[in-house]
Symmetry: C2
Subunit: 440 residues, 2 copies
Amino acid sequence: MADAENLWSTRPASALRAGPEVDLATLDRSATPGWEGGKNEARTFMAARGRLLSELQERLFAHGRSGGDRSVLLIVQGLDTAGKGGIVRHVVGMVDPQGVALRAFGVPTAEERRHHYLWRVRRALPRPGLIGVFDRSHYEDVLVARVDGTVEEDALPRRFSEINRFERQIAASGTTIVKVALLVSYEEQGLRLMKRLDRPDKHWKYDPGDVDTRRDWDAYQAAYADVLARTSTDVAPWHVVPVDRKWYARLAVTELLTQALVDLDLDWPRPRWRVDAQKRRLAATMSEESLQQAAANAEEEIAAYHQDEAEFAAAVARADTSPGPSGPAPGPAGDPGEQDGQDDGGASPSGGRSDVAGEPPARTTAAGRAKKNRKNKNGRETTARAQETRTTKRQKHKKDDRGSTSAAGGRKKSAAAGRKKSAAAGRKKSAKNSSGKKTR
Amino acid sequence: MADAENLWSTRPASALRAGPEVDLATLDRSATPGWEGGKNEARTFMAARGRLLSELQERLFAHGRSGGDRSVLLIVQGLDTAGKGGIVRHVVGMVDPQGVALRAFGVPTAEERRHHYLWRVRRALPRPGLIGVFDRSHYEDVLVARVDGTVEEDALPRRFSEINRFERQIAASGTTIVKVALLVSYEEQGLRLMKRLDRPDKHWKYDPGDVDTRRDWDAYQAAYADVLARTSTDVAPWHVVPVDRKWYARLAVTELLTQALVDLDLDWPRPRWRVDAQKRRLAATMSEESLQQAAANAEEEIAAYHQDEAEFAAAVARADTSPGPSGPAPGPAGDPGEQDGQDDGGASPSGGRSDVAGEPPARTTAAGRAKKNRKNKNGRETTARAQETRTTKRQKHKKDDRGSTSAAGGRKKSAAAGRKKSAAAGRKKSAKNSSGKKTR
């Protein structure tokens, strides 16, 4: 798994970012912007990224459970067959379902129609700690509503402003917004719809209305171009994802989501209770034998914890290595407040926003430390050092230097089992953590 | 993956089913009832089951999207550290997040307290087509409420009756209820809590109240015993899952969920539109070149469809092989209406309920056909034959014998890519599924 090679030459956050003028007519929807590999490399890399994403998600979840205010909102827009469902299944499906708040927005219900179009969206925003996923969204109200004529053309500028203001509020409240527009070609859409008609197991995905929508292709393309140009802001930029190659779309969205979580730079929350005091309370309920076993386990557990943290920090450091100045320019938008500008240090969105989080107090995170290392040395050195540390820990199984109170005790059968278990868990984690090497 | 050996000698639906008298005092919480293998075998088997579960879930989802009324509700109860979250992450996490409605029930909010205790539960029931998951449930109102004294002892019989009536209604409306009580030992709970205190990355999972709850251990065990004895009914039986070995708990719940979905015996829904007419409408929007490509794809797609169906039917046939009469008896309950009695043919819950579904009209499903085969021969024969069929299909890639209109054409890149893709998806799933090693 450590072999999964990072072949992103330009981060999708830059490579796919919509500028003020979006020319969808010339967009190659089978392109793979920023990714230098093919499908096989993408598969390996995405599996590794999935493990990192899952670890990052758990930290976000822990943050939310401990009074933190951060969350992530992935907004997925696209026409029929663009692969919205595939993104949910294959990208979002890589993380713990407990950390996901998924909402699909269909045709508004009678109740929803009685309210402002943002009403139902506001109610579906993710709580702190969660990754919210919108399968369609308020953008339907400036896309399908526009093409179907349920909103007048001259009302659109106001809606764009409302949406931008709305998203600015969401972002200010602690939610990182990741917007992806999945763009399929006209030809590929036809083939995908025909496949649904060819295969009885896909019939349920087909709706006769899909052909009607397809007939409005040009109007939808124009509507998308406007949306991308008018609602791509610093706090909520659009990413234009060509999806004729499904593997690329999933890879790109995985990377966008991973980077958004890396940028949050969250560490495990600090407890609001005293560890030693709680250990004493708990110990009072345990038998002498259990306590001996717990003490024996503790050593292994703490070692496993440090190993996991080192692996995580190394994976984040590799993930966090932005392309150098030789990389392609970040698209025509090029405004000063780049979403992916975390190299600017304190001026970065993550740096700025983590001040908002308030409680529990921010700590220098493993990721943060790794980032600092990376800034002092080159990425490859940091990675090598982290790996060395990890290997040493794994080989020596030394007593943890920060470990506290654990009373020495005989290794009991179940303690040995516990160790095997934690070693197995370590392996699992390590398989889980180690996303690949950085390439450049 | 066809190698994953089914080592269930007794289905968990039988092996774990709560009878009218539940003796939790003698329950071995590190036991692995019904499973003849160890942890390694469990891992392999669970990975294979995950893929089947995922396929079954997609059929349920399609059913729900096409007007069907069936759903599944997994109710997970257990004390702190019993592994409720692990079940959600590792079992429920194996299926498409779009098909899951997860709800965690915490301490009731002020609004919830103003209503009957079933009010919030009723609102969280899964819509047709979904797998609902309750992390805790209305059973908190006869467990924690009882131990904490917020409900009087003499009010309990009424609550038990209400709950049984409530669940009968849910079942009658098309929801298969799967109730699992996760039972951890007192010793193991102590060790798991201590681990949360030992590891800074687990602190967020610890709450000082956990020790208070632990001090009420005996009261909780008595409350659980009553719940299991009083609310295990034919339509909603309890399954008592020993969880000191986490791998067993996850394996058992995976199996319970899979069997519940197998018993639904759902096929892909029939379309409400005419396939040929829709193909013509769509074709009118496609270029000549696209149409040629679609025709070439169709042959491959239909072959792939039949291959998928054959593999699915074979997997269901293998899954559906109940233990013979030599298997252990189904526990002390032994009432005539066994939940897992799908061998009774028409009298089975699935046979009976599918009449309720009404529309779209029931078809003989691939699973149903496989089941019939199994009844004529022995299970192993059917399995071998099914595998042979599949292998033949895979090797020959013969032209589909039931395929309709598809014009012959060269094999195009995209169809081949599609096949490769599904193989890749299989591999990915398998990587995701494999959990840890056996400890003892």
